[in-house]
């Protein structure tokens, strides 16, 4: 039931724009983390992290073969939880 009797069409449009802006902000932050752990820690910044040793090798290797995958998982669940909350805040949930 999509009709929102308590909102005027204009108000809905405005809140939809704010909802979208909030969503894009969460996406940008998540993608910065996504790039940092994989391309950053896993590849480009590996030399800078070489001093930190993890199980017989360095932190960069750990990020490349294990850490980035764990962070990816955390990111997707963070996004799902955060967005479900945002849906409720803006009253746009199904």
């Amino acid at each position: 039931m999509a009709d929102q009797t308590n909102h005027g069409a204009e108000a809905t449009q405005k809140s939809d724009a704010a909802y979208w802006a909030a969503n894009v902000r969460i996406i940008v932050i998540s993608l910065i983390v996504w790039a940092l752990v994989s391309f950053g820690f896993g590849i480009l910044l590996r030399p800078a992290l070489s001093g930190i040793s993890v199980g017989g090798t360095d932190l960069g290797f750990w990020f490349a073969q294990q850490g980035s995958i764990l962070v990816f998982l955390a990111l997707i669940f963070f996004y799902a939880i955060r967005m479900n909350k945002l849906d409720k805040e803006f009253g746009v949930e199904e």
Partner: protein, 595 residues
């Protein structure tokens, strides 16, 4: 019971399970055939998507790719999982909200252009077909090895099984079968890994064992591996040798390609709500990560095991003798795999020993000659694809584990093949027949045409599996390149920007054409050997290999689309409304009722 009977038992039991599920979950409507009635729980969908995504390449090849290269092939691990972040954040929820059945349908509607839809269908069919060939060949190889039948017979059995459950069950049958296949493949992958991790590190969790201590030497496992391969003249396992720029670009291409593969995207149409699509992407990655966190451990541990078997007295001791390989029970796997032609050794200097080392490295050659083992590496062939399948035998695990691995390899190949065939058949029946040729077709007629399209697709895939066009391996790069350069950017711009029809078509076509040309310049025109002008060792642009070009293609797509869109008419009001509605979850339920 001998190994053959055990393999037969495991594979037979798993097949009976798949067929049973298929009969239980028959599709009666187009909604069930294309989207399983949109009634799939997000966790169930996650498991099915994981099986759909993890193909013979993930199950059979990936650990081998990592084992023999080490750190440099981390790209596969990050690329094939990182794509799910893009999918979950940028595509899945909005496409679910859109509420139609196929990826091309979204592109066609959003860009109000039948041309865009046809371009998307072509990309989809080419990408899926090239991908499915590899799966069918994998089915043939796995059957050939474990059931001791010919490749041809194995492939035909596999095709009949896929036919049985995909044609009748559609998305509904395929989804529930894939759940069972996921369970089989993940057990098959992790159980041997747990045994091996216990043997080497005393830790039952392989991912922890990888960074744990090697019990026999008391050193960290990776430090031990680095030392032992370095002594034989190979590149250090954990060190970075690849070109950094190309590695970044390759990883990015795999990520974008993963997020653009239509058979994966369409899975998110099957869940009931937009919020379920977000959760489902997370669950998919959980189930994928179980294998992807295990794979690097499998690779490193197998490399260590193999190296130690070739040098039973340590690298400063004697290499393994021919007598031992032929007589000792622990080396039986070498004889079994030699028969397949994927493993080979030769006592070149006639000293009765098989010395395994890097004979391209001058220092090591000098060292080996001084020790009297000759100047040439005598383990002449070790196909990387046998690593996972031979791993339980190498680690001397019980016969039932080997049977389980056989069933797991087949589950991985069959589940991906079914998902791809489904993507092809819905593109043909829904986008081509209903979308352009005969829009007034009845639901019954559409369902029938979907099944016929599926049967034809299976026949074509089987034929190509039996007569692989020599370039099967290269075409996987093509599938990812197409998905990255055409499908992903089009979908993303459709949701996040107001790019118009002309911009989208120009972007897709230019991304596609430039990527194709770049791949053909390096792999040969239409993959015909010796028609290439460049090689991946010495690429046209800097260090960018043709396999890494997908990301560049995507960039070209975005740039052209924005430029053309700026210069042409803005999108009409109804499309503006469509974009606004896709961005907000409210009302997704109503869209489903409309079908």
């Amino acid at each position: 019971m001998d190994q053959f009977t055990i393999n037969l038992l495991f594979v037979g039991a798993s097949f009976a399970l798949y067929i049973g599920i298929a009969i239980w979950a028959r599709a009666g409507s187009t909604s069930e055939f294309y989207a399983a009635g949109r009634g799939v729980h997000p966790v169930t969908n996650g498991m099915a998507t994981a099986a759909d995504w993890m193909s013979a390449a993930s199950f059979i090849s990936m650990a081998g790719l990592i084992a023999f290269t080490g750190y440099d092939n981390s790209s596969f691990l990050m690329g094939w999982t990182g794509g799910y972040v893009l999918l979950a954040l940028l595509l899945a929820p909005y496409l679910r909200k859109f509420g139609k059945y196929t990826v091309s349908e979204f592109i066609g509607d959003r860009f109000y252009s039948p041309t865009a839809r046809v371009v998307a269908v072509i990309c989809l069919i080419v990408a899926s077909t090239t991908y499915v060939i590899g799966q069918m060949t994998g089915v043939g190889v796995a059957f050939g090895r474990f059931l001791e039948v010919s490749n041809t017979a194995g492939l035909l059995i596999g095709a009949c099984v896929v036919f049985a459950y995909a044609v009748f069950g559609g998305m509904k049958g395929v989804t529930y079968t894939q759940v069972a296949q996921y369970c089989v493949l993940i057990m098959a992958y992790t159980i041997p890994a747990i045994f091996i991790s216990l043997q080497l590190t005393g830790t039952p969790i392989p991912a922890l064992g990888l960074f744990g201590e090697h019990t026999a030497s008391g050193e960290p496992l990776l430090a031990k591996l680095d030392a032992i391969v370095a002594e034989l003249g190979f590149a250090e396992y954990t060190a970075h040798h690849a070109d950094t720029f190309n590695m970044v670009l390759f990883t990015l291409s795999l990520m974008i390609g993963t997020a653009g593969l239509p058979h994966v995207i369409m899975r998110f149409f099957t869940v009931p709500k937009v919020s379920d699509a977000r959760w489902s992407a997370g669950w998919t990655l959980v189930f994928i990560a179980l294998l992807y966190l295990t794979a690097p451990a499998v690779g490193a541990m197998a490399r260590l095991n193999i190296t130690e078997m070739m040098w039973p007295g340590g690298t400063s001791g004697d290499p393994v003798s021919v007598e031992m390989i032929e007589g000792d029970e622990r080396y039986n796997w070498m004889a079994t795999w030699e028969k397949t032609g994927l493993l080979g050794w030769e006592d070149k200097n006639g000293d009765g020993k098989i010395a395994y080392f890097n004979d391209q490295d001058a220092d090591t050659v000098a060292k080996m000659e001084a020790a009297g083992w000759g100047a040439e590496n005598e383990l002449t062939k070790f196909n990387r694809d046998i690593l996972v399948l031979a791993n339980p035998e190498i680690a001397n695990l019980p016969a039932w584990v080997i049977g389980l691995v056989a069933a797991g390899g087949l589950a991985a190949a069959l589940s991906t093949a079914a998902g791809l065939l489904l993507a092809i058949s819905s593109a043909v029946s829904h986008d081509l027949i209903k979308g352009s040729i005969n829009p007034s077709i009845s639901e019954k007629g559409e369902l029938l045409s979907a099944r016929v399209a599926m049967a034809v697709a299976i026949a074509v895939a089987t034929y190509l599996g039996l007569n692989p066009p020599g370039f099967a391996a290269q075409t996987v790069a093509l599938a990812f390149g197409l998905a990255a350069a055409s499908i992903f950017p089009a979908l993303m711009m459709g949701i996040f920007t107001k790019v118009n029809n002309k911009g989208a078509v120009a972007g897709m076509v230019s991304g596609l054409v430039v990527t194709l040309i770049y791949i053909f310049l390096h792999k040969g025109w239409f993959f015909i050997p010796d028609t290439n002008s460049f090689t991946d060792a010495d690429p046209l642009l800097g260090t960018i290999k043709s396999t890494s070009f997908g990301a560049v293609g995507a960039l070209i797509n975005f740039a052209v689309a924005f430029t053309v869109s700026k210069m042409t008419q803005p999108i009409p009001q109804e499309i503006e409304d469509l974009v606004e509605s896709v961005r907000v979850p409210r009302g997704a339920g109503a869209a489903v009722d409309g079908h």
